[in-house]
């Protein structure tokens, strides 16, 4: 019973983390059909930005809540700038090329950004633990939960709700849905696809950076944190169905729970449980859980 509830809570926390890093990736893929390897860089930049912000507020002795908000704001701001630069400066030049070529463009961008981090922040690692430590913990039965983890789950839930609301009830969201559904028709009906692309990419970048920012207090912000996140987010998105927000949510939950169960019950398989689940899902549903194969017409 204790193990079961531990698996559930751990799974939920891990799923929250996965969802936050995967939602931006799946959004960009859904609208632009770009599998963005540079998403890992957004994550890393967000984390470095958050660490810088935490450094500023710790020195200034501000209250923790302000520090937390400053951290998120800094992360998102970096995502905004980075997103605009990449979309306007690089991706614009390769629209219309093969999907796979664009993946490689983002891979090249990722390589370059890895070293830009060294140029800006140097090779040393940064700590940003203050928000998490000051959040404290609560005891539920025998389990001790970090309040920060609860905040993380809340943020993920909020993002999911926000995404649902935005896509369903806002003008821009409905526009996006149209573009996802049928790009040519959308263009024919006068949707400014160029603008939609820019805005989507920037939002995706901000979400990626936000992922890094909220995770920064839990980890040591160091070189190479982006690499791990890319493959993880890919796996989640592939399981859920690329381009599907609800897919990212369900994918994150599946991976989160499976991994937590593996750690508690059979720790030997933890290393490949994610890829195992991914391969399994792809074998049964080649396009992921939430995307149906499109029948081909003659």
């Amino acid at each position: 019973m204790l193990t079961a509830s531990a698996i559930l809570t751990d799974g939920l926390v891990y799923a929250a983390y996965l969802f936050i890093v995967a939602i931006g990736l799946t959004l960009i893929f859904g609208v632009m059909k770009i599998l963005n390897v540079a998403h890992g860089s957004f994550y890393a930049f967000g984390a470095y930005g958050a660490a810088t912000a935490v450094g500023i507020y710790t020195n200034a002795d501000w209250p923790a809540a302000i520090g937390f908000l400053l951290m998120l704001a800094m992360g998102m701001a970096i995502g905004l700038v980075l997103g605009i630069i990449l979309e306007r400066g690089i991706l614009r030049l390769v629209y219309g090329k093969d999907e796979v070529i664009i993946v490689l463009v983002t891979y090249a961008t990722f390589l370059i950004l890895e070293d830009v981090i060294v140029l800006i922040w140097g090779p040393q690692s940064y700590a940003a633990y203050q928000p998490m430590v000051s959040a404290g913990n609560i005891e539920i039965g025998e389990l001790v939960l970090s309040n920060y983890d609860i905040v993380l789950v809340a943020i993920a839930a909020l993002l999911a709700g926000l995404a649902y609301w935005a896509l369903k009830f806002t003008r821009y969201g409905r526009l996006l849905t149209t573009v996802i559904f049928d790009r040519e028709t959308a263009a024919a009906f006068g949707v400014n696809v160029t603008l939609v692309y820019t805005v989507t990419f920037v939002i995706g970048a901000m979400l990626g950076a936000l992922g890094g920012a909220v995770m920064a207090p839990k980890i040591a912000v160091t070189l190479g944190i982006g690499v791990e996140v890319i493959v993880l987010a890919f796996a989640v998105v592939a399981i859920g169905g690329m381009g599907s927000i609800e897919g990212a949510l369900v994918g994150a939950l599946i991976v989160g729970i499976c991994r937590a169960a593996a750690v508690h019950l059979v720790p030997q398989i933890e290393l490949f449980v994610i890829y195992g689940v991914m391969a399994l899902v792809l074998v049964v549903r080649p396009y992921g859980l939430f995307v149906r194969a499109q029948p081909r017409k003659i």
């Binding site: 599998l35 490689l104 891979y107 090249a108 390589l111 890895e114 070293d115 796996a235 991914m278 391969a279």
Partner: protein, 315 residues
């Protein structure tokens, strides 16, 4: 791919073979590794012509490498020719199996599934302490039909072996490209329905491509294992696959020779970046990739084609 191209390729091959003893050792070993990797790239070219990209080609590379080192380790058998063959066959068999699954997928899904499969192999190897886990283990010094060279002579022998395997591979891939199964690449990318209605199973043609690419990947991994003298699970990691795709883009899918030139250029650029900017080599590589895609969308191979066209226009 006319007779002139084959003649030029043959001459280049002979020149590369003859020049080796005059080259500095470090160049010989750099070229050996570049040409071993070129076989993997050639496999990716086979797939790419049909519009398929594998982000998991390191799977076969790694299987080829481990097959070589494990065979040498368990049986004490060190003949390089046989070991390379074993590497290719082992990877080929794996590709036959995986092909049943993979041949149904296209585009990004093909890429993602191949990535997942190679990461599973990585996870299994990391978990296998008896195989040295992440540290990997060393590969026995190979012999060549009883001849057991050392130091410089070993380097040259491996270089010539790699060159020989490359030449055979290039010729066979050339023949394959001219066969129905090989030429059905652009047609599959263009219009699978038409291919099916001409009476061909697209799935089985792609399956063949996966196997051809797998065998080439295994041969490349086997040669690399002998040249490096060490194998480790990183050979299956997705960044290794990413590197191969990188070279494929750099080389372009235009010709067989481009894979070799591209691989050589990549290895030289990488080594140069390590030498000159030890902390910014990723940026250098990323920039080269980006500039290639932007300004040479068909890869280095297209430079030759462009030159040829200009010459034809003049005459």
């Amino acid at each position: 791919m006319g007779g002139r191209g084959q003649l030029a390729g043959g001459l280049m091959f002979l020149f590369a073979a003859a020049a080796a003893p005059l080259l500095p050792d470090w160049v010989v070993s750099l070229v050996t590794i570049a040409f071993a990797n070129a076989l993997v790239v050639l496999g990716l070219v086979v797939l790419w012509r049909a519009g398929l990209v594998s982000f998991g080609q390191a799977l076969y590379y790694c299987i080829g490498a481990y097959a070589v080192s494990l065979t040498a380790r368990w049986t004490g058998f060190t003949d390089a020719f046989a070991l390379v063959l074993i590497g290719g066959v082992a990877a080929g068999l794996m590709a036959v199996l995986i092909g049943f699954l993979l041949a149904r997928y296209r585009e990004i899904f093909f890429a993602m599934l191949s990535l997942a499969l190679s990461m599973i192999l990585y996870g299994v190897l990391v978990k296998s302490e008896s195989l040295g886990s992440t540290d990997g283990f060393s590969v026995a010094t190979p012999t060549f039909l009883g001849y057991a060279p050392h130091r410089d002579a070993l380097g040259l022998a491996l270089y010539w072996l790699t060159l020989g395997v490359d030449a055979i591979g290039a010729v066979l891939v050339g023949v394959y490209f001219r066969s129905v199964a090989g030429a059905l690449a652009a047609p599959i990318r263009d219009n699978e329905i038409r291919v099916e209605f001409l009476g061909v199973s697209v799935t089985s043609i792609i399956h063949i491509k996966v196997v051809v690419a797998g065998i080439l990947g295994g041969l490349g991994g086997a040669l690399a294992a002998l040249a490096i003298g060490h194998v480790d699970p990183n050979m299956a990691y997705w960044t290794t696959s990413g590197g191969f795709v990188f070279v494929t883009i750099l080389a372009g899918a235009g010709s067989v020779a481009a894979a070799f030139v591209g691989s050589l250029v990549f290895e030289a650029v990488r080594s140069f970046a390590f030498d000159v900017m030890p902390q910014l080599w990723q940026m250098t590589l990323g920039s080269v990739l980006l500039l290639t895609i932007l300004f040479l969308p068909d890869g280095l191979g297209s430079l030759v084609a462009r030159l040829k066209r200009r010459r034809e226009a003049k005459s």
